[in-house]
Symmetry: D2
Subunit: 353 residues, 4 copies
Amino acid sequence: MKKISVAILGATGMIGQRFVQLLEDHPYFELSGLYASERSDGKQLHETLKIRDHQFTEDSLNMRISAINIEEIAHTSRVAFSGLPSDIAGNIETELANAGVAVFSNASNHRMNDDVPLLIPECNADHLDVVKEQGSFANGGFIVTNANCSTTGIALPLKVLDNAFGLEQVIASTYQAISGAGYPGVPSLDILGNIVPYIKGEEEKMESELAKILGSLDNGKITNSNIQTMVNCARVPVVDGHLESLILRTSRDASVEEIEEVMEEFRGEPQELQLPSAPLHPIIVRHEADRPQPALDVLAGEPARARGMSAVVGRVRKKENYIKMFVLSHNTLRGGAGGSVLNAELTASRGLL
Amino acid sequence: MKKISVAILGATGMIGQRFVQLLEDHPYFELSGLYASERSDGKQLHETLKIRDHQFTEDSLNMRISAINIEEIAHTSRVAFSGLPSDIAGNIETELANAGVAVFSNASNHRMNDDVPLLIPECNADHLDVVKEQGSFANGGFIVTNANCSTTGIALPLKVLDNAFGLEQVIASTYQAISGAGYPGVPSLDILGNIVPYIKGEEEKMESELAKILGSLDNGKITNSNIQTMVNCARVPVVDGHLESLILRTSRDASVEEIEEVMEEFRGEPQELQLPSAPLHPIIVRHEADRPQPALDVLAGEPARARGMSAVVGRVRKKENYIKMFVLSHNTLRGGAGGSVLNAELTASRGLL
Amino acid sequence: MKKISVAILGATGMIGQRFVQLLEDHPYFELSGLYASERSDGKQLHETLKIRDHQFTEDSLNMRISAINIEEIAHTSRVAFSGLPSDIAGNIETELANAGVAVFSNASNHRMNDDVPLLIPECNADHLDVVKEQGSFANGGFIVTNANCSTTGIALPLKVLDNAFGLEQVIASTYQAISGAGYPGVPSLDILGNIVPYIKGEEEKMESELAKILGSLDNGKITNSNIQTMVNCARVPVVDGHLESLILRTSRDASVEEIEEVMEEFRGEPQELQLPSAPLHPIIVRHEADRPQPALDVLAGEPARARGMSAVVGRVRKKENYIKMFVLSHNTLRGGAGGSVLNAELTASRGLL
Amino acid sequence: MKKISVAILGATGMIGQRFVQLLEDHPYFELSGLYASERSDGKQLHETLKIRDHQFTEDSLNMRISAINIEEIAHTSRVAFSGLPSDIAGNIETELANAGVAVFSNASNHRMNDDVPLLIPECNADHLDVVKEQGSFANGGFIVTNANCSTTGIALPLKVLDNAFGLEQVIASTYQAISGAGYPGVPSLDILGNIVPYIKGEEEKMESELAKILGSLDNGKITNSNIQTMVNCARVPVVDGHLESLILRTSRDASVEEIEEVMEEFRGEPQELQLPSAPLHPIIVRHEADRPQPALDVLAGEPARARGMSAVVGRVRKKENYIKMFVLSHNTLRGGAGGSVLNAELTASRGLL
């Protein structure tokens, strides 16, 4: 089978370089080019290295980055993976879609558009259908977004618990890694030995995105969920891995064992389709007293291609009519580039690429 | 006025050394001795230094530490400040009370006893009266405890909001500093660049202690509050300062401005009595987008003697019928030695020392 | 005595704000204005806070920052303390001197000029005289620089050891704090849990600046020292305090006790003149096995106004014909704003302001 | 070929668990048992997890740890890999050798014995021969040690430079990771945001071990090298990877290019023998301005089995007659368990197992 040609936008950034990592030897996709702003035109990847825990191939390290050129990308690439910052992503992604490119984006610009799926394949694979409402779809161009990094990790267990027990209220506090702010991102003087209880726009995004992701598709339209969601966000001195404290109320009572079991046994459409980046266990439930921890669990996920793609849940407890737990997910893999790649794999499996 | 002689128990630990710091030149108290386990008998304070941000006087640095000796302490000291670990604090504190010593303790052992006040003078100064129920009181010996370090910081705003608007539900997630675990405490391999979402017994303590502190005194007995409280605790790589995410439901509605105002204007009994360690503003409300932060706010509190004694509240917001905010307090000052010293000052002002 | 009016340049940065801290209630100087780039024009200090360990007065926090205006500064201020970045400091400082202002600068631009003293008052107070060679001196304007933050700390013990035992070779490796790079400075992704063995231009600066500082003044000209100096510099995840590993060869042999004694007993001209920011002990020698440490020793220095102004030496050992030791100094106090203030105090005491 | 049965001693520690990692599916060795102190008897590996960056197999995680039993080990294992702490390693290792077991040890106890090789196969493979002098050798039992973790990393480039240019003087300052102190090891309160310029006995070990490793074998006896070596050691807040600043004097002059080339092209006996854990490039020379860095380079080494086995050198410069550089190596892989495994592979290839 011929591989699908893909471009990476924002290749000098954290997310862009995660895309490079994930697309080294991918069974569906092959790289047609790396793109970033004018400023980086001509640089090689190794000159702009942002990722600590992956040893890129020599080929990757030597790849040259070009300034974004819509025509060139449309000419060479069926797909564009976008790790662009939101101040420029909006227009570029629209232009690419109009030029017939399937765009899988991490940027927030289009997420809340009615005709753009905010896709987490295990949660709402059916939402992919709304791309057909996009004007450019007839020419093969469309935009699929993935959610904010702090939304994605908890969406997996929340969806499962909603299905099983009826979710009424979600109260979350986050412990978010610095890689979520990109590079250079958070100044070290702000975060070394410190916690910053504020991430601009993050709480609003989490609250609105969860409503869309957990919403239902009726007659080709997404109706938001009306689960009450309240979030406090904070940045912590951790490199990778968003940890989140959850306190939940469900309409149907369940024991801790039932809650853990329904999460452990959950498999979604990516698992059924055996998509390459789908983790065997979308949700891993830890039973130790002190897990999940970023340092120990951030790369959870099997097989090798799905490292960092599982959400890791731990400390599931009940108190009166509430469930308490912690969830960890990798903010630049599952909550970033890995999420986009999985979205693209699902889209390919539907014959849309 | 003659100063009251005081002994410090646990002088090789974090809390014990905060006591030394706070009692250098205290207007009510003078040091009669430093005590710790046999192992440290004969050492000088400078050989066991645990505190980073205070320059001790030469006199303090040269003080010798002795093994704990109940008789000796009872002979030389009217008051004992205890920073002992809970595995040995229980018995020693009881013996000292029986020997006629007024014990002000940071240990958890006696906190939930009916006749032991769990005292935060701005919140429940009236609870001090229950010491009179203690068997040893007739001989001048009694035990007063302060709350867990993560309970204390939030108790101040919660008490104020309960009085003003009727508190129904408290949902908290904590970001707790490593100094809360004492020394050697948390191994660096566990916490460097990591978050540990578990502190043994902490959530249970916070939930039960808040009920007692926010409870009412009727006929000499404390009746627990029945506010629903749910807590998730985590350790973060910060030296000093517990940050806590709060999501609250009150029975009476109030605007953000009213909520902030009632906290800013609050003054308790320590402020009325002008106790030496009482901060002018028990609760400081920050209005910047990104405060409070441990690195910037942990030492908040005026005058100089009350540094680290104010709770700092920020990011007060409303969402539907809930209030969202963050609270920071110094876990070894307000939530540790400083809390005990303030308790002792209140007790002295009542003529009980 | 009337206080000398002083302006602070670069008031939104780390060093600029240390100047504000040090000039709150200074016996010689009073603030006439805060200056920074156009971008910050009109902001109040509290909106740009960079310093963690000082509680500014309300007056300081509310001061307004203006865009730099040479005429205005020359009109209102006898002295300008400069914490400007080196890409703009050069011209501005020259213009101010030409306009009759005495400039005390942290920037590197003019340090190596023959007629500009690179001043550490305990080391080379006599070098101040070369300001008289500056063209603007007749009108009262001149430039005095202090050394690079990593040079300053070791210059103190090196000068003393050179005088006492004849220094032949200096081999240094540095452990430099992030505050040395200013704000935003080092991205957290680069330094959290990491060491970066490179600081642009730092090794060259240290090697050339030491030669000038340790040089001798003959006939109004500074002749560089010819001590062989070799340096490797690295950035470490510490907020404040440059630690440096030193291995030294002297021409005259001395015991560890003699070496320690000559450093402990050293007093320079600032101590003789009792300048306000002069530490009683310019060099503090620690005898514990594991000192100096940034967390414990960075603020060493008495009296209160001289906190962070002492160099702290520890682990003095001998091996064959070499001396081994570690030195710590506060990079933004002694190695930054504090150094400039001390320079200005010395200059004032000479009647030059 | 039948695999050689091996026991791991100290399996609850950092080094012990690195052995488990490295022996999962090793071509020469198969695990016969995990051993530690009585305290851990019966525990499974996953209950004592110390390593962050390796995902153990389920089989490994479920392995049971037994209390050390010399007879049992001698009965089941041809080889013992020892990650025991030095307070107990000495006797146990001697007893095992006497019982006919080939011991490959990380402990310092036997390193300086005349008949014990202090082996780094690329540096001094010929030293292995001295095991034949051990009394137990006739029965198949002997002890081979690897060097201190901070010695090993620099020994590789030093050996190469000594061979090529004649090394006269080595001046080193270290930036050592916390994993070097084992677990629980360094308390977080000591090292978070701090540097500790002291590691007990480390400087002495480095100075004496280097002399032995760089020494020559004549008539079956090792003669120490007489290169002058001076070291200052410090602990830094990094999880894995010892960085070291080197300033060197050689007897023959060489250009930076020659120095880099001789290191890059170096291949030792492990490379010739293609031992499984031998990195293709024992020394990797980086040419970027700011490398090596622990976060980016600690796992350098190919193929996969040799990750963390290369020393990474960078910033090679000359100043007068000295060479300046930085070296990084993985302290628990190349400088710990990986070094021992490579030693055992060399020993096996010599037919001694």
